[in-house]
């Protein structure tokens, strides 16, 4: 693990060095695996206390349309802080979530990782794309494709997720819910 000092010497807006890229790649791959394995409390440990976890609705507008209309302040399917994410994890612990029993299978394929330093020492903006697949009951399938704009922070205990903006490439979510973390 490269030291924080080393990192902070990096230049904002510059791609991270190869070693840092490898660390970040490891972080995202293991995060995905923890979620696939439903190790949710370990997943919470990868988040910073000030995490912001977002998934905005893709409203469809014409290209020449700039002015927002009506009261629209924007809608997010996920607009969560640490407390809300923790609530979701605790909810699973109640064992009363019928939708998840028998256990659903979910698999997160993470690709196109691209990272660059920010002007905050030890923080990197990390882009990645994903294919999330869910299979449940006899033969229900969910296919989700999109990208994530993450802010990763290097702490004394390693990289942590400080912000995630999920770009889910759908207008109409083609399933009954998004009951899974991306």
């Amino acid at each position: 693990m490269a030291s924080t000092v080393e990192k902070t010497s990096a230049v904002a807006g510059q791609p991270v060095d190869r070693e840092t890229h490898f660390e970040i790649e490891r972080f995202l791959v293991r995060e995905a695996r923890l979620l696939d394995q439903e190790r949710l409390h370990e997943w919470l440990e990868l988040l910073t206390p000030d995490i912001r976890y977002l998934l905005p609705v893709n409203e469809i507008r014409y290209r020449d349309d700039t002015a927002p209309i009506g009261t629209a302040t924007g809608t997010h399917i996920f607009d969560e802080d640490y407390r809300q994410l923790e609530m979701r994890v605790n909810r699973m612990d109640t064992k009363l979530v019928w939708f998840e029993d028998p256990k659903n299978i979910a698999r997160r394929l993470i690709t196109n990782i691209d990272a660059e330093w920010t002007d905050v020492p030890g923080e990197a903006d990390v882009y990645s794309t994903f294919l999330v697949y869910r299979n449940r009951r006899q033969r229900d399938e969910t296919w989700l494709v999109g990208a994530r704009e993450d802010r990763l922070r290097l702490t004394d205990t390693g990289w942590r997720l400080a912000r995630r903006n999920i770009l889910l490439d759908q207008r109409v979510v083609l399933d009954k819910n998004l009951h899974l973390m991306m």
Partner: protein, 444 residues
């Protein structure tokens, strides 16, 4: 398709399972219900200025809802009169014209055909453009901000159609400053028949404690005790079925119950407390109670909302076994930006597409439809007899009112009116009070 009096039995207590599967019945629903009833389109607050528009669906028909230059609201089928191409592909926007991408015909805000390429060279100036405006929705009207439309010129007025339901609706629609919807709506799908979520959101308090056992357990608050049906809710409530098939259910003092955090509930409760004197003065103590309670309600056929939570949904049918859900957040215009934000986030986290409670409901709804794939299963009836005989007219409140909170009073009412509509009854016959002829008794 069986005769209607074999589809709905015993005052709506039994529904034949083909209602939730059969293609032929669905075609009849499109014709007799979705082409006749008043359907929710949008909220005035979402298209405040001339040219502001939303696109949505009425049954399976795509429509544009647009604010006219005179401030009124018009709605038109989103299909070009030439070869049928879609004239607007956006969810929302503001425009003077809709220009078809195929041959360039263009239509004004009022649906008139205003532009035709080569009108002289190709049509020799003889095209009667007045014959080719966008097909208008027959009637469009707004009730205190909620905009509805119907394809049926014979349909009674929106006020008449909402009927008794208005007596309940006013108790929050008439709040000072009125209400608004926060958009854009989330959109997702459900592989279930459109009637199932309508009955559920309208009149099914019975499922709450079990289906949502996990969610209410972690959210806490006054309804936490309902988790796993541990206890009955703290305060009483009731269910109502009203004319034209609308459903209303009420839980005393429950309004803030599903706001996500303790202090968020406190903030909302404080707002209600501050407003309450005005409401009491306006509506008297009985109706003012509604303002502080939690509602589940459905406006026939496919518009539902939970006052308090504050989710507002339309179940757009897509064949007999699927639908699209549109979800907005319902707030009072005069609430602070922070309080609106609290409600918008709470709605997303509970009944939004990734909502904790939404994910509890979806599979139940879907399985109630999908099990009808079975030929033998499909020959059976579903049952909603709960509270039958323990409901009736009420001294103060209109409609048929149940004695207790847990009752399928509103659901039976919904299916009685469904039967009248599907039958193709004339509007005058549909209007007669909801004691129905569907008393044929089921032979098990």
């Amino acid at each position: 398709m069986r005769p209607v009096d074999e589809l709905i039995l015993e005052d709506g207590a039994y529904q034949h399972r083909t209602l939730f599967w059969d293609e032929e019945i669905y075609e009849r629903e499109l014709q007799q219900i979705f082409a006749r009833a008043w359907l929710f389109l949008t909220h005035e607050s979402l298209i405040p200025n001339p040219g502001d528009y939303n696109t949505t669906r009425m049954g399976e028909d795509n429509v544009i809802v647009i604010r006219q230059d005179d401030g009124s609201i018009g709605a038109f089928i989103n299909s070009c009169r030439h070869r049928g191409n879609t004239v607007c592909h956006a969810d929302a926007g503001n425009t003077r014209r809709f220009t078809c991408t195929y041959h360039g015909w263009s239509y004004g805000r009022n649906g008139d055909l205003v532009g035709v390429p080569y009108e002289n060279e190709a049509f020799f100036g003889k095209l009667d453009k007045s014959q080719f405006g966008l097909r208008p929705v027959a009637q469009v009207a707004s009730y205190k901000g909620l905009v509805f439309g119907t394809f049926d010129p014979q349909a009674p007025s929106l006020e008449t159609y909402l009927g008794d339901m208005r007596w309940y609706l006013d108790a929050f629609l008439d709040v000072p400053g009125g209400v608004e919807l926060i958009g854009p709506p989330m959109k997702s799908i459900l592989n279930c028949n459109w009637k199932t979520p309508t009955e559920n959101f309208g009149g099914d308090d019975y499922h709450f404690g079990w289906t949502h056992a996990a969610g209410v357990a972690v959210i806490g608050g006054p309804l936490q005790m309902l988790s796993g049906n541990a206890e009955l809710p703290p305060d009483v409530g009731f269910q109502v079925g009203s004319k034209y098939g609308h459903i209303f259910g009420f839980i005393e003092n429950g309004a803030p119950a599903l706001q996500l955090h303790e202090e968020w509930r406190a903030a909302y409760a404080a707002w209600i407390e501050q407003r309450m004197p005005i409401m009491v003065e306006k509506f008297g103590p009985t109706r003012a109670r509604f303002y502080g309670g939690h509602w589940n309600a459905s406006i026939f056929p496919n518009c539902s909302f939970l006052y308090g939570t504050n989710t507002f949904k339309v179940w757009q049918p897509r064949g007999p076994r699927a639908l699209e859900v549109y979800t907005w957040t319902l707030v009072e215009k005069e609430m602070s930006a922070q309080l609106k934000e609290i409600m918008h986030r709470s709605n997303a986290a509970t009944f939004g597409t990734a909502g904790m409670l939404e994910s509890d409901d979806g599979e139940n709804f879907e399985e109630c439809t999908r099990n009808n794939r079975g030929y033998v299963s499909r020959q059976d009836y579903y049952y909603t007899g709960m509270g039958q005989g323990h409901e009736g007219p009420h001294p103060e409140m209109p409609g048929i009112v149940s004695e207790v909170l847990m009752a399928e009073t509103g659901i039976r009412n919904f299916y009685r009116y469904w039967a009248r509509m599907i039958n193709g009854d004339d509007w005058s016959r549909i209007a007669v009070p909801a004691t129905s002829p569907l008393t044929k008794v089921r032979v098990a």
